[in-house]
Symmetry: C2
Subunit: 207 residues, 2 copies
């Protein structure tokens, strides 16, 4: 998290730094991105940067977290719209996210974000906030999920299924950024995978 000092800065100055960072993270993957480059671009002195953020990681996750929060709102919105069918929700969000992230002004940044998203990212974003906050988020989702649609109405199992569908969506989005030949068929593959989730892979339904 950025320091109070950063958050007290005029919004314009904040945006100036964040935009320079986004430009750098669009040009280079997280590892290759350079604080030097960011501060040169933003025209702020070295010391100021370290006044605002602990390090490159701190800055990166701050940016990422803002997108994550936006996504969370979109999820809730569509859950309401789709009457609690979260598979439908991710089907819609797939297109929505693809559209947003492949827009020419965003595509470089998101390509890097998605291709360099690892589980350590997730770990940092998931495990840093206090556990109550996560639980609260989950509860906000659970009251929107219509339980009679699914085989299980157990909260923990539903959250898990939700996570599974989200993971499949994420993976399909990532593959879109991998290379263009693959990307063409990716939407079909995504739908196919959702079908497996919906109806199962085995021939005989044994339950």
């Amino acid at each position: 998290m950025p320091s109070k000092t950063f958050l007290n800065l005029p919004l314009e100055k904040q945006a100036n730094l964040l935009n320079a960072a986004k430009r750098e993270f669009a040009k280079n993957s997280f590892n290759m991105a350079s604080i030097n480059q960011i501060i040169r671009d933003a025209e702020i002195p070295r010391g100021s940067f370290y006044m605002y953020f602990v390090d490159k990681e701190d800055l990166y996750y701050y940016i990422l977290n803002k997108y994550r929060m936006t996504l969370f709102e979109r999820v809730k919105y569509h859950l309401k719209e789709q009457k609690g069918d979260f598979i439908k929700v991710w089907e819609i969000l797939y297109d929505e996210i693809i559209n947003y992230c492949t827009a020419s002004e965003n595509v470089d940044l998101f390509k890097n974000i998605f291709l360099n998203m690892h589980y350590a990212t997730e770990k940092k974003m998931l495990l840093k906030p206090p556990i109550e906050e996560i639980t609260r988020g989950q509860n906000e989702l659970l009251i929107l999920i219509s339980k009679d649609l699914y085989q299980s109405s157990n909260d923990s199992e539903l959250m898990d299924a939700f996570g599974l569908v989200m993971m499949i969506t994420t993976t399909s989005i990532v593959y879109t950024f991998m290379n263009k030949e693959i990307a063409i068929g990716e939407r079909t593959t995504f739908k196919r995978r959702l079908n497996i989730i919906k109806y199962g892979l085995y021939k005989e339904s044994e339950n």
Copy 2:
């Protein structure tokens, strides 16, 4: 890939460098790992390292790829044993991989490998080898998969389903490395997810 020069080295010397690298990658994530540290530990001069590998990434993926090849052999072995039921195969491999990777002498390395595994990793490992090689690998799997078990017997759909189950397995393994509290329930979650894949999430089977 390492240079011919490296592969011509006496196996002992190769192992010496690779072990030093593994020690460093066990201590630090890929980003934090230092070539300096590796060559100091392996007691080889700087110039030699760059004679053998292009850079840190080259070395890292060489190590990873060896594990990947071993895994591929295990997959084929179990596919034969389990008469082509690849869900069962990944159920077995889950335990096998967990056992191997959490052994005290391996755990630090694999924790870093799994937590820092991103899609760019996959991209590099998947897209670097010529496309025929991937196709050949897929065909080796397809002849072992018993098609009458599944709803679809279409090759491309089966490979996709295979990938889906592999992805779920990988994710579950990764979560084991995240933190101990989570890890306790992770095996249950994994089984639960496989059940969704087997029998579907929706109440009514509509196909």
